[in-house]
Symmetry: C2
Subunit: 355 residues, 2 copies
């Protein structure tokens, strides 16, 4: 086996930068409240000074809870550049189809951008998002939290070291009971104007897709897909459930699935010529790693990090040091193109190239 | 949870039959030698009296080792009906494309037939196989050993009882390093004249396909697939590796894979609205069952049975009692049609109906 079972290369970021990145958090939903605000609070190089929401109640609550937060803005106030001197970077965690307008506002004001995935509702809007950051010369990073996960980073190193031989197959699964998590059926993930191409691949399928890209260091070139929506809450989106296959440019084949109306379950596996790597659960905040080579199977328990704290610390350090960011806009854009291709494939019943 | 964790309905066979079924085993390869001959030896209601092979060396060796075996026949002798009085039933375990001729010989002589899966090399030949058994009024069973596996039978009952809610997704994987198991690249599974449509779906993918059918009590209606062969030993067959999706008539969607040139790994999972059932390993002679419902996950260790002994005992009892056999020819034929559709889908890049 390999020493990578016991050691791994953490996300390589600059640690010599000084100062701090002051954040405006745009969208104060469940994710930002539960995970992002507490994570930033833990990091020396980050601070939240500004929160942006349509709900004054929400921004007031955050300002009460967090001493560092000076400004609570509406989306219009944010768009107008109000209090723009108070922050250096913007984290966007709003419905997919609203990312572009918030990133545009951030870019206009010269702020670094950390945007949640999927980048936007459509490829065209994601392209516009990349462009506005380029035009305004502001750094852009897409928030793939799995890239900071120690179990995922170990998996990547083990694959690189050849522990499983040549990768052959990927199996990726991500399902959750959305209507139990958010009981109101009138929610943005079920509204095509806000979610984009669909719900389960955009929101869940992107995890096996992108994490496989990261571990394999390979990109999707061809896809197939079948989708179905039966529950009435999913009337407006095609993919209450989806299966999709992906051919990567290294020749690896993936068989994946996603459902917004099933048991909570996540798993990612890479089967190679000599062994197998499995993450299960794969895409939760806690993951578990199993590595097999020949007849030997090893369960590896890795340290539990706060993925969001790692992500924000990396982003802040790189921005402070004026170093490039990973995943950048082009990286995120390729996922958008793959997801568009998956939806086209499901609709046409044909194999579709990612382009 | 459910009492089915602790109890299960064994294959329901008649136990009041008297007498024994005397077998001719056609094809004395690894499987017959390692698993079938010893299994039959254990069963009161079965005995092997005849073995058929192109190799006199092999038949001589079996006759030396097993007292009950009176006759060693060549394929021609078997086809001519030599020693036909010495056996009541025929087990066919030869290359796919040779099943039909041996079943024809068995049927002509009025013998009950137990034929390995996949039934034949093509749908047309499998249809001819079913027809010749019907025309000669002999019982036909296709040898799906997973139907006798206690973990699989429990999984089926747990699904029926609703333990995982409504089934939503199936994940099936079956891969093995064929060229290490049988080092000679000049082997029948890599020869399209003998294997049929291909190698990995015919030989391996049929396991998740059929076991999902059995557990869900549902049939495949639509498929997609991507296949690739890169290793030179796989030049003549399209599917060194394959991913395929299956839509079942109950609305369940499956994402499956098979490879003849990868790490030995088998897994089957059914994800429902309320829980999840996992078999891993799934398709070996030993299986392991995990059941999750809500936040509870249970690992179930089941008794280890000899799947082949169970299969032969069931077959013998049903034949002695003149009762119907499961899986019958029509059941096996549907798998052949699904596999044909999977190959058509891979070749055309389009979604294909199973028909």
């Amino acid at each position: 086996m390999s020493t990578s079972l016991f050691e791994y290369e953490p996300r390589d970021w600059r640690t010599d930068a000084t100062g701090a990145v002051r954040f405006a958090l745009v969208g104060i939903g469940w994710w930002t409240s539960e995970y992002v605000l507490p994570a930033i609070e833990e990091i020396d190089y980050c601070t939240t000074t500004t929160v942006v929401s349509s709900s004054t109640e929400k921004t007031d609550r955050v300002r009460e809870e967090y001493d560092t937060v000076e400004h609570g803005l509406t989306y219009d106030e944010f768009a107008d550049g109000e209090a723009a001197d108070a922050y250096d970077a913007v984290y966007v965690c709003t419905p997919n189809a609203t990312h572009l307008e918030h990133v545009e506002a951030a870019a206009r004001n010269g702020k670094a951008v950390l945007c949640e995935k999927p980048m936007e509702a459509t490829v065209e809007r994601a392209e516009a998002l990349v462009e506005v950051c380029e035009d305004n010369d502001v750094p852009l990073m897409v928030a793939y939290r799995m890239h900071t996960e120690p179990a995922v980073r170990r998996a990547r190193e083990l694959v690189r070291e050849g522990v499983i031989g040549d990768p052959v197959l990927v199996h990726g699964e991500n399902s959750q009971p959305l209507l139990r998590m958010i009981e109101n059926p009138d929610q943005w993930r079920l509204n095509p104007d806000l979610t984009g191409y669909g719900t389960s691949v955009m929101d869940l399928g992107i995890y096996p897709l992108n994490t496989a890209r990261f571990i394999l260091d390979a990109d999707p070139v061809q896809v197939q897909s079948t989708m179905a929506s039966e529950h009435e809450a999913f009337d407006e989106v095609p993919d209450e459930v989806a299966t999709f296959s992906v051919v990567f440019d290294d020749g690896t084949h993936a068989a994946c699935s996603s459902s917004q109306n099933a048991h909570d379950h996540t798993r990612l596996e890479i089967v190679g010529t000599e062994g197998r790597i499995e993450l299960e659960p794969a895409f939760h905040m806690e993951t578990s790693l199993t590595v097999a080579q020949g007849d030997t199977t090893v369960d590896v328990e890795t340290e539990q990090v706060d993925q969001m704290a790692e992500e924000f610390e990396y982003f802040a350090q790189q921005v402070l040091a004026d170093e490039p960011l990973y995943a950048d806009g082009e990286h995120g854009l390729l996922d958008m193109k793959a997801i568009r291709a998956i939806h086209e494939a499901a609709e046409s019943g044909e194999t579709v190239d990612v382009e």
